[in-house]
């Protein structure tokens, strides 16, 4: 059905309370995919399952052909950005970013952390705490941590939703030129077709309890199926 390359969900069923989500799809490595669908449709559930926060009731999750279904979150090849709470508020940006290198604060002063901060435009802000920088800078610090981790699969659950349109575009561009350029595989939840057009080659539509196999962004958005059309309001 799919090659060993990238992420594969084989007959996965995720159950959360009375909600069920089925997923049978493959995402090739190194590509950026948008995940779209109505609120409460299961986008976050899908990402939670891939990241390991929710054990599937059935099916297998594979990365590069290796079964990762039973691995705890920290041992998966996955790094996830949440809608909020991506940084510990009591730690400096450098300490937060340094956690990508291991569960200790000792990495904060390392050259790798300084480099990751510099690449996200935070060169001088490592000693600040999240509350002392702007929302955009917090997003950059979260990106810097993901960048520094060696996880090849990045899941983004609307981490930029609280930013204004200009900042959001800036962040998407940064994602594209850092994470994507570094060969990472990205799954990005978004409500905005413009986000998808900006950086995603393919879109995974989540509706009616199913995560559908990816479809090309342009084609899908130009001729959306009824469910997606209703959601987009087009």
């Amino acid at each position: 059905m799919s090659g060993p390359d990238g992420l594969t969900l084989e007959g996965v069923t995720l159950v959360q309370g009375s909600f069920r989500l089925g997923a049978d799809l493959a995402v090739p490595a190194g590509q950026t995919h948008a995940v779209m669908g109505a609120s409460g449709g299961g986008k976050s559930t899908l990402l939670g399952g891939i990241a390991g926060f929710l054990a599937p009731a059935a099916g297998r999750i594979l990365w590069q052909g290796r079964d990762i279904t039973a691995l705890p979150p920290t041992e998966r090849p996955v790094s996830m950005l949440f809608q909020e709470h991506n940084l510990f508020p009591h730690l400096t940006l450098a300490e937060n970013v340094g956690l990508a290198l291991g569960p200790s604060l000792k990495h904060a002063g390392s050259a790798e952390v300084a480099d990751a901060l510099a690449r996200t435009g935070l060169a001088d802000l490592g000693k600040r705490r999240p509350a002392e920088v702007s929302g955009g800078q917090r997003s950059r610090a979260a990106l810097a941590r993901v960048l520094l981790s060696d996880k090849p699969l990045i899941l983004m659950d609307e981490p930029f939703a609280a930013l204004g349109p200009g900042l959001k575009q800036e962040m998407l561009a940064l994602v594209d030129e850092t994470l994507h350029a570094a060969g990472r595989t990205l799954l990005m939840v978004t409500h905005d077709p413009a986000d998808a057009r900006a950086i995603a080659a393919q879109i995974i539509v989540v509706e009616d309890g199913r995560a559908l196999p990816p479809a090309a962004t342009g084609l899908l958005l130009d001729n959306p199926p009824p469910g997606l059309a209703g959601y987009l309001g087009s």
Binding site: A51, G52, F88, P89, H90
Partner: protein, 491 residues
């Protein structure tokens, strides 16, 4: 950890239950203690709640200079050592107190603070503020929009907004106060006694300490525990609202009331709560520098006991609050049913053949204080830790923060405020505790509250006053240091 806590509570209870079988039939005196315990607890709860309603309403609808100080004042009794409050109340309401001094020239008969009325007075002193705080947080929970909406629609605000809240909160407040007063020991020991005003807790103490009747003590302890369990069952979890400070900046718009009423209510309540404290400070200030060495040793012992109890209770509460779940909930609530003297009796029964009671005094006090504080600490810490996990748990999972690292890097720093607050409460409560220590201690192991109560009993009032002031300073100081430590964010 939850199992350990359960064992620590249930072990002594089982011992008590086994020995209760050896008791003779209850005497009329035992029945009187049973009836008085229930009656005074019910009266104290009813009075505290009835007085709390006008006080809370007055505080909600008036803004006056010193309102913030007043709100702090009604937080104070929770950590005020009972024996100190009693000293203050005696100074005001006692035979030679300020009230009687004012009544005498008018030719009125003197009031007596000893007996049932004194027990209830002291209980209202402690629990009126508690009830008031619970109602204030109830008022604070009514959204400001509702007040404006009710006003715009000309709805009777009391009936539509206040009454539903009061009906929801008052039973919980009353049951909690009832439960607290059921296990009252220090108040009954100092202001009660005799056939008319002996609580079961006091009867346990007397049976064990003076009559050496272990069977009777055990029987009273079983009865005490049964009554508490029944009240606890009624109260459920609702009554155990955490003792958080009420909101200050809310825009509640209560229906207007006469100024004289609100001013009178606030003024009288303020005097009632502040005067005993003032009396302690006034009479203690002259004596605190002349205290005998026994008092200073007792103070040192109290500090060690308080710190040890705090460490033990916090360790149990933190681990249990992190785990959560049914077992932890039950284990954390159970100490409410086993009062200090009930657990103390159990420990005595288990160990009296093995170890001399005096050797047990301080360890037993540490253990019992930790157990008694556990329900409060758990209620404060559980929501705080659950919130941290809800917000940052997935991030920590992803970063591989497990075990001790999770505590050190995430849970402790982010729940620092509640942890400091809980530790402060436990330390202050343990510092002022006069319960199980009275059961075991001889002169050599007495803590500061016990030394103070013995000084009072021997009419060494100057020494008692000085010890009282020292005790207040230590209890409030401990609370302040821990609570403050929780607030300081890493610089």
């Amino acid at each position: 950890m939850a199992l350990a806590a359960l064992a620590l509570v249930l072990g002594p209870l089982a011992a008590v239950g086994l020995w209760a079988g050896r008791a003779g039939m209850p005497t009329p005196g035992d029945w009187a203690a049973f009836r008085f315990t229930l009656w005074q607890a019910a009266a104290s709860a009813a009075l505290s709640c009835a007085l709390a309603v006008p006080l809370a309403r007055a505080l909600m609808r008036r803004r006056f200079p010193g309102r913030k100080a007043f709100l702090s004042l009604i937080g104070a009794p929770f950590i005020l050592p009972v024996i100190v409050a009693i000293f203050g109340l005696v100074a005001i309401f006692g035979r030679n107190g300020w009230i009687n001094a004012a009544l005498a020239p008018l030719g009125l008969p003197p009031l007596s603070i000893y007996g049932p009325q004194g027990v209830i007075l002291a209980h209202v002193f402690f629990n009126l503020p508690l009830a008031c705080r619970m109602l204030l947080s109830g008022y604070a929970a009514i959204p400001g929009e509702h007040w404006r909406l009710a006003e715009a629609l000309s709805l009777p605000r009391f009936r539509f907004l206040e009454w539903p809240m009061l009906r929801q909160r008052l039973p919980g407040a009353a049951l909690l106060i009832f439960l607290i007063c059921l296990t009252s020991f220090a108040v009954a020991l100092t202001l009660g006694g005799g056939p008319r005003a002996t609580t079961m807790e006091l009867a346990i103490y007397q049976a064990l300490r003076f009559e050496f009747d272990l069977g009777k003590a055990a029987l009273m302890a079983v009865a005490q525990c049964a009554v508490c369990l029944a009240a606890l069952g009624l109260a459920g979890r609702a009554a155990l609202a955490p003792v958080a400070a009420p909101g200050l900046g809310l825009q509640a718009r209560l229906p207007p009331g006469p100024l004289w009423l609100d001013a009178g209510v606030i003024g009288l309540a303020g005097l009632f709560l502040a005067l005993p404290l003032a009396a302690v400070v006034a009479s203690g200030a002259t004596w605190i520098f002349d205290l005998p060495p026994t008092i200073w040793w007792a103070a040192l012992r109290s500090i060690v006991v308080a710190l040890a109890a705090t460490a033990l209770a916090m360790a149990m509460a933190l681990v249990m609050a992190r785990a959560g779940g049914r077992l932890a909930e039950v284990a954390a609530a159970l100490p409410l049913s086993a009062s200090s003297l009930v657990t103390g009796t159990g420990i005595f029964i288990i160990l009296f053949r093995v170890i001399r009671p005096e050797a047990l005094a301080l360890p037993a006090t540490v253990l019992v204080n930790a157990l008694v504080a556990l329900p409060f600490a758990y209620r404060i810490l559980r929501p705080a830790l659950a919130q941290v996990e809800a917000d940052y748990g997935r991030l920590a999972d992803q970063l591989g923060l497990g075990g001790l690292r999770r505590w050190r890097l995430m849970l402790v720093p982010l729940a620092r405020g509640p942890i400091g607050f809980a530790a402060g409460l436990i330390a202050a409560m343990a510092m002022g505790d006069l319960g199980v220590i009275a059961l075991f201690a001889s002169q050599e192991q007495q803590t500061l509250p016990l030394a103070m109560s013995r000084a009072m009993g021997a009419y060494r009032m100057g020494e008692a006053a000085g010890a009282g002031l020292l005790l207040v300073l230590l209890a409030f100081g401990m609370f302040w240091i821990f609570d403050r430590g929780g607030r300081d964010v890493r610089a």
